[in-house]
Symmetry: C2
């Protein structure tokens, strides 16, 4: 992957930012960019992408359509993306014409769990014990090394529990590997964690770093259900988690917002579960509880603007609205919470349709 | 003006709200509507309307273009407007097809200072002493009745000090009347007020009423420069100001957000200066200091949704960014304030280009 162009000066208000991807993250990025006076141009392979509704310009096509990407590049001053699983060709082509942030190198690592684990090991950042599994015949040794139970995860294209399978025996692991069509995987120990947390942080073009207070996260069916601040992390753990995120961001020479998901073990150890080189669902509460949301922070960072203040003015609990839950929209409008709906059509099971953030006065919740 | 259609049930997320006007108020309404899952369709007579940049659909044409307005009505579920000086034909035509809010009757009154004063007198709401001036020969008597100095204001189409002239003598008043081409005016006493304030309030389709904490406002060259909460209003004055806004809203059978601008005299009396049947510049701080901004509140009200909580979580000072001040955008990005830029092209003198809101912890400022 070649190095993309970089901005030589801060992006002027009125400029157009291109966003690869047209889901809710792109939509909320576009809304934040508009608040700062930028126009956005959304590129999506979905004809009814919900981010199209709030963008100045739209491009509908495959992410590997070279001609369309070249055309897209002509109408924008710089590009970013809302998800890490965009085909490499898109940011590479864009980078030949304009600045692209976050750096495509971070994307490449986050796209591939095997690369990600090697990258984290290189930084001496702890993760759950794991083994790479490239071929079926490696499974027995891998499972023995880990000691079951374990989770088999495809190296690429996993999200919201897709491409993951919990296994106890070698036979189960082999079946899962076959169900994934024999693609490269990692086999990972199941961590009996106390709770999950994440760090949402930004790094500017000048190397400045700013992290939000890390939320505590609860999942159900592999999908994030709730993020809360404050979390149960102690001040020392919060410092450690933030330092991990900073180390990762600096190693990537990162520009933009990134998320580092963590397991917090019962012994108090922090284990990195995943890096997302983008704004993240566990940071949605920042829209209601901070003056500068993660979306604005990302736009500030990639535009070469000074990072905003990540301090929160309130305690917050964010709950996702998933699939058919959105059909109760009328009841949701009456809740004393900040309601965010994503403008998506069909409320398919598991689809993120919106979120609700309940605020309480700052410092009213004590958890750690 | 005929009665417009009304919504028979709350507007469903995914519906399209039409907005007459394409300036910064329409832009911020569109952003708030998007947050709630609505699409917006902007109608403006300006080809480069800044609200177009964030809308799902756009209509560019004159506000009295019947065919275009009929076309516009077909693509939207309901309509609202960002300014009161829209030609009557537009809401009237729209009202034949779809629900329009706020009620066109409120628009008609707010468009005309003479009607507005009669309306307020009918509600026993105090204003500055004034006289109607329809013809030049009435000026001497009017000035004598008021006792100079006074301000001559055109009844219609005034904003940001346009159509206003301060006069001391009958000769000055006659010259001003002629300069306004002899259109109907009001002659109003200059109030030696202690400060200015405003009430931003919403009334729902169910009659529910919710007011924000009234800001104190400072003007320069007839343009709002700063709004601050808390204001110097005493709790009793805040109650009185809010009751005035409620009385006005109920008299109009109002739906949506409205603003009532007030003079606070040195003796502590509240005098209504102007009614704006729309979201208002002096309520922009609600975007940063409240979970539900005035823009979201307006959308909630007109959509038939429950009103949101108008409580603020922070003290706030909002400063407008006017004309060439926006050329210092790079310095503005570094301020520890919420920055909002409107995506307008040319920074003409007096043009509202953006605003900045500085937050402080709730209760940290004591003014009254």
């Amino acid at each position: 992957m070649t190095k993309a162009k970089t901005l030589t000066r801060p992006l002027e208000p009125g400029a157009t930012i291109g966003i690869l991807g047209g889901g809710q993250l792109a939509r909320m990025l576009a809304l934040a960019a508009a608040r700062l006076g930028f126009k956005t141009h959304i590129y999506s392979d979905q004809a009814d992408a919900c981010a199209f509704q709030v963008a100045d310009a739209r491009c509908h096509g495959a992410y590997n359509n070279r001609a369309l990407i070249e055309e897209f590049a002509k109408g924008i001053e710089m590009a970013t993306f809302e998800f890490e699983n965009v085909p490499e060709i898109a940011p590479t082509l864009l980078g030949q014409h304009i600045a692209v942030a976050p750096p495509p190198g971070a994307l490449a690592v986050a796209q591939d769990r095997s690369l990600e684990r090697k990258f984290l090991a290189g930084l001496s950042v702890a993760t759950a014990p794991f083994q790479l599994v490239g071929q079926e015949r490696q499974i027995d040794d891998a499972l023995r090394a880990i000691g079951g139970p374990a989770i088999l995860k495809t190296s690429r294209l996993g999200y919201d529990g897709k491409g993951q399978s919990r296994v106890k025996t070698a036979a189960e692991a082999r079946a899962a590997f076959q169900a994934f069509n024999g693609v490269p995987c990692i086999l990972e120990s199941v961590i009996d964690f106390a709770f999950e947390a994440s760090v949402i942080a930004a790094r500017g073009r000048d190397g400045a770093f700013a992290a939000y207070d890390p939320p505590e996260n609860e999942h159900g069916d592999h999908i994030l259900r709730r993020s809360s601040v404050p979390s149960r992390l102690t001040p020392a753990q919060t410092g450690e988690a933030t330092a991990i995120a900073r180390k990762i961001a600096e190693a990537f020479d990162y520009v933009g917002v990134l998320c580092v998901e963590l397991f917090v073990t019962k012994a108090g150890q922090l284990l990195v579960n995943e890096i997302a080189p983008r704004v993240h669902n566990s940071g949605h509460w920042t829209m209601d509880a901070c003056q500068v949301s993660q979306f604005e922070q990302h736009i500030r960072a990639i535009a070469g603007w000074p990072l905003g203040n990540p301090a929160r003015h309130s305690d917050a609990v964010m709950d996702n609205i998933i699939g058919p839950e959105v059909n109760d929209w009328l009841a949701l409008t009456a809740k004393p919470s900040g309601l965010h709906l994503y403008g998506k059509g069909e409320a398919r099971p598991g689809r993120k349709m919106g979120h609700l953030t309940r605020l309480q006065p700052f410092g009213s919740v004590r958890r750690s």
